[in-house]
């Protein structure tokens, strides 16, 4: 009888008790792995995305993510694991994009043009790979729009190792990178290796995008790469605070997304993206509201203090 009740609990719906709901979900190893993978990815993406938004390289980031699709399709075609394809293609595309010098007035335009070119070509390759694959290439939709079912413990370990490597490398590059991101000309004049930093950053971004692709799909990567960082940078200009906020938002939308997807049976990618979008809209509205009443707000605040 107790076993029957336990099972009824395990398959029951949403209870509004977060502890019960989490316990219910974590009774299943596939959900434990989904939460572990989602958390690792969210942290790495939020940190890398924060620098990406600061450096105005969102388009490059999008391209790096999108080339994960031909990567995954090509890897399956060649008989390797999809994860391996994500990483190889994303990092290789990063090196190609980094080959364009980022100096001079029209550097941004040149990089954008090359990025667009690389993106279109590699997407076309992805389409060819799916056509070449003799047999049934399952899961194209989940490659594009994400999936959280079927993540193995081995995959979680790979995600963790890559995320740790990316964050350690970023820690080493962080200080000069921030300088070079905020004012590349002055940094170059001071002897900071701007070009090298830019290449290194793109490679790390490629690795982070490859990670995020495996959770949100290659088309919805921005849900974790751009949206949390953009939201955080809307709310505060202070680096420490906005970086921490970015990580917090990314983890929160991932957990909320996983929970909703688990209880609703609808795709994860939609929920993560929607929550991230809602956070961004709220942040903009809060910013707008704060901007509208700066003078009046100061007086009662002084009174309250």
């Amino acid at each position: 009888m107790t076993a029957v009740t336990a099972l009824a609990d395990a398959s029951a719906g949403w209870s509004w008790n977060p502890v019960d709901d989490l316990r219910q979900m974590w009774a299943y190893p596939f959900m434990v792995n989904a939460f572990r993978a989602g958390t690792i990815t969210a942290v790495a993406s939020a940190v890398m995305g924060w620098f990406m938004v600061l450096r105005r390289q969102s388009f490059a980031g999008h391209t790096l993510a999108v080339v994960g699709f031909p990567g995954a399709a090509g890897a399956v075609l060649a008989g390797a694991s999809a994860a391996c394809g994500y990483f190889v293609f994303c990092v290789a595309a990063a090196l190609v994009i980094a080959a364009v010098p980022r100096t001079g007035r029209d550097a941004g335009a040149q990089e954008a043009a090359l990025t667009g070119t690389v993106q279109a070509f590699l997407l076309a390759c992805g389409f060819l790979f799916t056509a070449l694959y003799k047999g049934l290439l399952g899961g194209v939709t989940s490659m594009l729009f994400g999936s959280f079912l079927g993540i193995t413990t081995g995959q979680v370990r790979v995600l963790l190792a890559v995320a740790a490597a990316v964050l350690v490398a970023l820690a080493a590059l962080g200080r000069p990178l921030l300088f070079a991101s905020v004012d590349p000309d002055v940094a170059a004049a001071r002897g900071v290796p701007v070009r090298l930093l830019s290449t290194g950053f793109l490679v790390l971004l490629g690795a982070a995008a490859a990670e995020a692709s495996q959770i949100t799909g290659t088309l919805l990567v921005f849900a974790l790469l751009v949206m949390p960082a953009a939201t955080a940078q809307t709310l505060t200009a202070r680096p420490v605070r906005s970086l921490a906020l970015s990580v917090a938002i990314a983890v929160a939308v991932t957990w909320l997304g996983l929970t909703t997807a688990y209880y609703s049976d609808y795709p994860l990618g939609f929920f993560v993206t929607t929550y991230a979008f809602a956070a961004y809209v709220l942040a903009r509205l809060a910013r707008l509201a704060a901007g509208r009443l700066p003078r009046r707000a100061l007086l009662p605040a002084a009174g309250a203090a």
Binding site: A8, V32, A164, V182, A244, A297
Partner: protein, 349 residues
Amino acid sequence: MKAAAHRRQPRPARRAPFARVTPTRLALGGVAVLAALAATACSTASTGSTGSTGSTGSSSATGGGTPGSAGDGKGGGRTIQVVAAENFWGSLAAQLGGGHVHVTSVIDNPDADPHDYEPTAKDARTVASARLTIVNGIGYDSWAGKLLAATPSPDRTDLDVGDLVGVRPGGNPHRWYSPADVHTVVERITADYKTIDPADAADFDRLKNTFETRTLAPYTQAVAGIRAAYAGTPIGASESIVSPLAEGLGLKMLTPASFLGAISEGTDPTAHDKALIDRQIKDRQIKVYVYNSQNATPDVQQQVKEARAAGIPVATVTETLTPAGASFQDWQVRQLDGIRQALATALGK
């Protein structure tokens, strides 16, 4: 309003300005956060998986879980939870297990395509509570393989039809259209039931004998009848799902394998193949045209039209059980009757 007021409050001690914050410390902080989170996740994971062993164990012992498509649990007894990726295998499993099993088929809707099915969280939960799983394999239902890999369980028996009948990925996955393979799978399901629930072994043997000799008899007879009367007749088909059946019936498949594969796998057929098939139809080299009505691409529809115009009888098959609640044998026998009628019309015997 009040919240906004609080946020605008001037702070007595300002933080260091933008440029002076050391990003190294920031990033190191990030690593620390990640490490902490990972550690938390790992620790919850270990408690989570301990919990899950209990819950999956209890679910296989009791009759709960998701409502099944076939089979009725014998209240209170040891009911084996069976999850089949597709309903054609599920139908066999339900009839072979009788009241001792509770079968849930993930794909039980004629409109769902098993090739590119995206499993839901509910499917993953169903798989996680299974004692026996049956997947087709051979790359046909790779989503099911992923669900199994994400929920490893030492108590679960996984039956992969492709592995059982020795067809490797890249081979023809439509094993339920091969009469010989159907019998192999029937034997294996019963063997697995007997291993899982040895107490009811005699029951399972009895169920299997009834199934093979009585329930499946019309199917076996229909196959043997067509084979005896029409073996060697050249036919055309829309996709590779027909190939194992043609082999089992002794019919000669004239349609190029590359075309059959392309339609089955959802890729574009070549112009050369299409021209060849057009000629086969116009010259009436094929006596009957068989197509999968659940996967009638424009190319296939065109060929159906051409075949009818050329006076070639057309028969249909479907990917999964049609209608959804049909049993495996009723479905197959109805299709075999259609093929026999088409052959009879074409050959006038």
